[in-house]
């Protein structure tokens, strides 16, 4: 029983933090408000630092680490507004490592570890709300393989990745599974979304009878467990990033409040400001607790994984929302100017809040899981 990170994990976190502090900045991110949004140099740097190899097994040239090792890194990504598709590639890596065939692992893992392969999950559909069971994309059996059709939205950096990891149903009312396809394969068209998070990119991707073979399907066939894990991984990654965004916003707010003079004293000495910051800290720290615990649940995979993951996504979503809103408020007038970075954090937090299910959806999942656990006890 130990709820702390190891010395190695802290050391790794320090190196990531220092590295991002040196090599990445919101000013650089602002150069990507137009265009593909993909930063080649950052990708190369992340790859050299070994981040993309973290979840790859050692036998395939990776570090053989897990979600607990990733938690602090993801939080740091949130703090620094690191753009995709790094996190997305990590989510896909975890799935390929756990559910891929030996051939798939051997073919894909070394390329992921070296930074040569970028992957984006394609999950959401406009008609389905946040309910994966409502997935309409379908892989229809055809000869030795499947013809894949459907319309996915919010596919991150779809024009900058090498593979899409598509959630689809196998047969009209069949089980869910995951298919890996190159974005350029025949039958795939895409268009960029206009996004609230202006420093991110995502696309609407239409798949129209895309020919896929057994080798394209993760694990060689339907894999509903892999789909659930992909969604849970996304929820945990979003939670940890939200904790990072919120932590940064609290720091910005405290710094600003401590130096902004009104009425002859720093506004940080006024209870209206300082008490709010204290409440922000309490929800931030509890959010971090939730995100770390959920990372452990993904790594250890206990029977309560779904409940633990949803606890984090619901709590961190609410916490990040209120911390970003309050952080902007504490900045007063300059808080709502384009020049100040705070709106970029607010936008990112909002994107993460609605990614992989909103707080209400996850609260309902916590309730269902709790009732099942009570019945089982």
């Amino acid at each position: 029983m130990n709820f702390d990170f190891s010395d190695d994990q802290y050391l790794f976190h320090d190196s990531v933090r220092d590295f991002l502090g040196d090599r990445w900045s919101v000013a650089k991110l602002r150069t990507h408000l137009e265009g593909s949004g993909f930063d080649d140099a950052l990708w190369r740097d992340l790859s050299e630092l070994g981040l993309l190899a973290m979840l790859v097994p050692e036998e395939h040239g990776g570090l053989g680490l897990g979600y607990v090792d990733l938690a602090l890194v993801l939080e740091e990504f949130g703090r620094h507004l690191v753009p995709g598709p790094a996190v997305e590639t990590m989510l896909a890596t975890d799935i390929i490592v756990r559910y891929g065939t030996p051939e798939q692992r051997a073919a894909l893992c070394p390329a992921i570890a070296s930074g040569a392969l970028r992957i984006a999950p394609a999950i959401a559909e406009v008609e389905a709300g946040f309910d994966l069971d409502q997935t309409a994309a379908v892989a229809v059996s055809s000869g030795d393989g499947w013809l894949l059709s459907g319309r996915k939205i919010l596919v991150p950096y779809a024009d900058s990745v090498d593979r899409l990891l598509v959630v689809a149903r196998f047969g009209e009312a069949g089980p869910l599974g995951l298919v890996l396809v190159e974005p350029g394969r025949a039958g795939i068209t895409m268009r960029p979304h206009s996004l609230l998070d202006i420093a991110s990119r995502a696309h609407e991707v239409v798949l129209d009878g895309v020919a896929t073979g057994r080798g394209d399907v993760v694990g060689g066939g339907p894999s509903p467990d892999a789909v659930l894990r992909l969604a849970d991984g996304g929820a945990v990654a979003a939670s940890a990033q939200m904790a990072g965004v919120a932590g940064k916003v609290l720091d910005l707010a405290v710094d600003y409040a401590n130096q902004r003079i009104q009425f002859g004293k720093p506004i940080g000495s006024l209870q209206a400001i300082k008490h709010r910051c204290a409440d922000m800290l309490a929800s931030l720290e509890t959010g971090r607790t939730a995100a770390y615990y959920a990372a452990w649940a993904l790594a250890d995979d206990p029977p309560e994984r779904a409940r633990i993951v949803s606890m984090a996504k619901a709590f961190c979503g609410d916490a990040a929302r209120s911390i970003c809103n309050e952080g902007l408020q504490i900045h007063g007038g300059i808080g709502f100017t384009w020049e100040l970075d705070i709106h970029l954090y607010l936008r990112r937090a909002k994107a993460l809040e609605y990614a992989f299910g909103d707080a209400a959806t996850h609260r309902e999942r916590v309730m269902s899981a709790t009732l099942l656990e009570m019945e089982a006890a």
């Binding site: 959401a124 406009v126 008609e127 389905a128 709300g129 946040f130 309910d131 069971d133 409502q134 939205i153 919010l154 979304h193 206009s194 996004l195 609230l196 998070d197 202006i198 609407e204 003079i261 009104q262 009425f263 506004i267 006024l270 209206a272 400001i273 929302r321 809103n325 902007l328 408020q329 007063g332 007038g333 808080g335 709502f336 100017t337 384009w338 020049e339 709106h343 607010l346 909002k350 994107a351 609605y354 990614a355 909103d358 209400a360 309902e364």
Partner: protein
């Protein structure tokens, strides 16, 4: 207590409705919309304002001697309701109508009223507000922009910020320091400044919503005739309090309520059609219905708070510090509504204007971003709470 309308009032409503139907641009709201470009949009709004003036609807309840129509506040409210029902364009000269005018009516000289009020109504002169400075936001009384007497002029030097619509304005009312030696509230005067005066530089401030209605405004040896002083020398703070009371008061709130309610109704319409799988739409979700209902309640009560305040004013009770409660109430109410709007949109909450899949053309996302400023401008919520606690509840400083 009576929320019904007399036959005369209903007749007036018919007249208003007919005029609006005849004068809105053909295809308004279906094929004709506000221009995308921000400058063009504001000029479009100004044109509409001038059309309203030409139709005799501007300053409906103002005194006739200043260009008004001498109508009742109820008629004024009916006009507002009908414009809202038709989703007519907004105006541009909000500051002139809502702030300059009541301030001059309370504190201006007769000459100032006759000179400045009519062109506000006609849309010939748009106004902007020069109060805040970079180091004088919540602590407004610490402004540093100076006005030094030189013959029959004041010479202004300094910087203002958050000067809304400065780029479209012909005139600016502003607070300046005329006695640096006096205690900070005592050395301030209230001046009317021609924006065409030499020495004024404007730099737009882009907001998080992408719009730029606010500006930084620099004053470099700007000369203003002494006749443009409102009230007495060094009496500007008291006058500013009147301006702020109107800025935060029920008239401003009611105009906003109409826009918020329009957005809320559009949101509910959107929720009725937004798919959520299994043949259900967003409006079928009991959890979301609770949040939408909260907004229905809060936005409707915003209107009734305004009416309650108007009824008091009608009985001759002046608008006082309790207007701060209107501002506090509506700003947080609206923020909650736009958060609920995003929750209603579900996965598409993260899209933005311009995406073919974003419900309501992205207006809810824009509204959300704009709403973050509601609790900051016109006095932050923290300032409103100070005013309410100290001046309404009598709590100690």
């Amino acid at each position: 207590m009576d929320f019904s309308y007399s036959p005369e009032e209903e007749a007036f409503r018919s007249e208003v409705r007919a005029w609006i139907a005849a004068n809105l641009p053909d295809g308004w709201g279906r094929v004709v919309h506000e221009p995308e470009d921000e400058d063009a949009r504001y000029m479009f709004r100004l044109d509409w304002e001038k059309k309203l003036y030409a139709g005799g609807w501007a300053g409906l309840s103002w005194p006739k001697e200043y260009g008004g129509q001498g109508a009742t506040l109820v008629q004024q409210a009916i006009l507002a309701e009908e414009l809202a029902r038709a989703e007519a364009p907004e105006g541009l000269n909000i500051i002139g109508r809502n702030l300059t005018a009541p301030t001059l009516i309370h504190h201006g000289s007769e000459a100032q009223r006759r000179r400045f009020l009519p062109p506000i109504l006609s849309g010939e002169e748009v106004w902007c507000q020069g109060f805040s400075e970079p180091n004088a936001g919540s602590d407004l009384a610490s402004i540093r922009t100076t006005a030094i007497r030189d013959g029959d002029h004041f010479v202004i030097n300094g910087q203002k910020t958050w000067t809304s619509f400065a780029q479209y304005a012909q005139w600016c009312f502003m607070l300046v320091r005329t006695d640096p030696a006096a205690p900070k509230h005592k050395g301030i005067s209230f001046l009317l400044v021609d924006m065409a005066s030499p020495g004024i530089t404007i730099r737009p401030l882009r907001q998080i919503s992408g719009e730029s209605e606010f500006n930084e405004t620099f004053f470099d040896d700007v000369r203003v005739p002494v006749a443009n002083l409102v009230g007495g020398l060094n009496e500007g703070w008291k006058i500013a309090m009147t301006t702020l009371t109107y800025e935060r008061g029920p008239e401003d709130a009611l105009a906003r309520q109409i826009r918020f309610k329009r957005d809320l109704m559009r949101l509910i319409q959107t929720a009725r059609t937004l798919p959520r799988g299994r043949g259900k739409t967003a409006i079928d979700d009991p959890v979301l219905r609770q949040k939408l209902a909260s907004s229905v309640i809060e936005i409707e009560l915003m209107r009734l708070n305004c009416l309650r305040s108007f009824s008091k004013q009608l009985q001759g009770k002046p608008l006082g510090p309790e207007s701060s409660f209107q501002k506090l109430y509506w700003s947080h109410t609206a923020q909650r509504m736009y958060e609920t709007a995003l929750e209603t949109l579900g996965p598409t909450a993260v899209l933005a204007a311009g995406d073919p899949l974003v419900p309501g053309d992205g207006q809810f996302q824009t509204g959300f971003l704009q709403s973050r400023a509601f609790t900051i401008y016109s006095g932050t919520s923290e300032i409103q709470r100070n005013i309410i606690a100290e001046r309404v509840l009598g709590m100690p400083r």
